[in-house]
């Protein structure tokens, strides 16, 4: 058991709700909000103090409803014991300084739901279907619509061009040419991207990630055990999370992802700056996604991503080798691409990436982005030499 967990964190507020009738008047997210409010009151804290959220569902959905932007979330679901598991994780997170104040919550009203005939979907841990009620009726296609709106806003605000976005797809394809398992390996040009059908303006088909089968896994262990195992260890130097919203219409600024928080925090944990990054694996669900990551991680200033990428520096031989497996744009994208970021970063740091190996890579960043620019996880990885 961890040496630093004992006594490192404390429960300082609690609340619960139940009734002899077996039914409660308040339900769903409103009931969750009431519990959190009461527990915070009990602790003498306010919503502004909270930077961590745990629930047995989509933590980002609860956070959005409550107006929270937590830097620690845990939606682990293992049945009724989920909450004890959450406390274990949160105590470890607090012990290592990842967050300060975590709320964990649960609300379920099966009796009232049955009597009132309400759809359980509105009141379960998943909450109401916000997208179905407020976005899908407008013909929104998920996830394309969200990223198209972000690209449109970036263009309107900063003058970013379709040609600049296209260069990101071109460079991903150049890497994919060196990956025998990539879905697409034939070279493409900026003109090819612009000539592909517009799916949702301003995004063309070749601005969008693939839809493929795929799978991955990783094994993580302690520094001590890592040194005795079969493969050269790749150490976690720093990591951070940030969440912002769940649906795109709740995103405060479509040109700034939560990576602007998780990126600098992870770099600070690792004690590195952007100039120390030898190879970047950053979630390229769409070309605009990659451009926003480059700005939010600090590789260039906000609004300057278009000019930053247009010389092809993300591709082979460039100054910022990025998505060296071909990325979600050309290698594979089964839906939740983040595992492939980690796998490729490890291969690069082991020096086992074959033809696409970045010479002398010591520090890699795996930057995941989930939902619709909703939540980011930034992981800084390094070879033994970087410790």
């Amino acid at each position: 058991m961890g040496r630093s967990l004992r006594g490192a964190a404390a429960i300082v507020g609690v609340a619960d709700a139940a009734s002899p009738t077996g039914e409660l008047e308040t339900r769903g997210r409103a009931l969750e909000a009431a519990m959190i409010r009461e527990a915070l009151d009990d602790a003498g804290l306010t919503l502004d103090d909270v930077n961590g959220v745990c629930c047995s569902g989509i933590a980002t959905g609860i956070a959005e409803y409550l107006g929270l932007h937590p830097t620690y979330v845990d939606g682990t679901f293992v049945g009724g014991s989920s909450f004890e598991v959450h406390v274990e994780h949160a105590a470890a997170a607090i012990a290592t300084g990842l967050c300060d104040v975590v709320v964990g919550v649960y609300a379920s009203t099966p009796r009232g739901d049955r009597r009132l005939g309400a759809s359980p979907a509105s009141f379960g841990p998943m909450g109401p279907d916000v997208a179905a009620e407020w976005e899908t009726p407008y013909g929104a296609m998920m996830p394309m619509t969200s990223y198209a709106l972000a690209a449109n806003r970036h263009m309107a605000q900063y003058g970013t061009t379709s040609e600049q976005l296209a260069q990101i797809a071109v460079d991903a394809r150049r890497w994919a040419a060196m990956n025998p398992r990539a879905r697409y390996r034939d070279p493409i040009t900026v003109d090819d991207v612009l000539a592909s059908p517009v799916i949702a303006s301003p995004l063309h088909q070749l601005d969008c990630c693939l839809r493929t089968d795929g799978a991955g896994a990783y094994v993580l262990t302690s520094e001590e055990r890592a040194r005795d195992l079969a493969s050269p260890p790749v150490f976690v130097l720093g990591a951070a999370t940030a969440t912002d919203h769940w649906v795109i219409s709740q995103m405060p600024d479509l040109t700034v992802t939560p990576g602007a928080i998780s990126g600098p925090a992870a770099f600070a944990h690792a004690g590195i700056g952007t100039a120390d990054v030898d190879v970047l694996q950053a979630y390229d669900s769409f070309t605009i996604t990659e451009l926003l990551h480059l700005e939010d991680l600090g590789f260039c200033a906000k609004g300057e991503g278009g000019a930053f990428v247009e010389d092809g520096k993300l591709g082979p031989g460039g100054s910022l080798p990025t998505n060296t497996n071909g990325g979600g744009l050309s290698y594979t994208h089964p839906g939740q691409y983040g595992i492939f970021l980690l796998v490729e970063a490890v291969r690069q740091l082991r020096g086992s990436a074959g033809e696409r190996q970045v010479p002398g890579a010591e520090i890699a960043v795996a930057h995941g982005c989930g939902g619709v620019l909703s939540a980011t996880g930034t992981v800084v990885l390094g070879t033994e030499a970087t410790l």
Partner: protein, 137 residues
């Protein structure tokens, strides 16, 4: 005519959808924060307060971002032609997704002033959409 994918009614948005039957646009406001809330919630995402009231709104706003969809999304037929999905910053201080209708989709861009309009749903409710108010804005 478009066969829209019609929105479900969440419990917390019942007053909103009821008002649309009379083509009235109402927004939930947190009384303590004196601020509008969108999407409708029973508690304020600023203070977690549950004193929320519904106020009439004039439905004026400005396009924040726009995307013309040439490939039909959910509930759309290819025959319907392109349509524009927008995020509108309402003057009330909240942002919502919608469509701008009654004009060529390609002409809709960030900064355009828009006003609320309505499209009928099959159950007597109306879906809030927007029309261009002033092309020079």
């Amino acid at each position: 005519m478009t066969a829209r994918r019609e929105p479900p009614v969440s419990v917390e948005a019942l007053p909103f959808w009821d008002a649309t039957r009379d083509q009235r646009f109402v927004l939930p406001w947190c009384i303590a924060c004196d601020a509008a809330i969108w999407y409708p919630r029973a508690t304020c995402p600023r203070c977690l307060g549950d004193a929320v009231e519904w106020r009439d709104d004039d439905g004026g706003g400005t396009v924040y971002a726009a995307s013309v969809h040439s490939k039909p999304g959910p509930g759309r037929d290819a025959d319907d032609g392109p349509y524009v999905v927008v995020l509108v910053d309402l003057d009330a201080g909240v942002r919502m997704m919608s469509n701008v209708v009654g004009c060529p989709p390609d002409g809709v861009a960030a900064g355009l002033r828009v006003a609320i309009d309505w499209e009928p749903l099959s159950d007597g409710r109306h879906l809030p959409v927007f029309r261009v108010l002033d092309r020079t804005a």
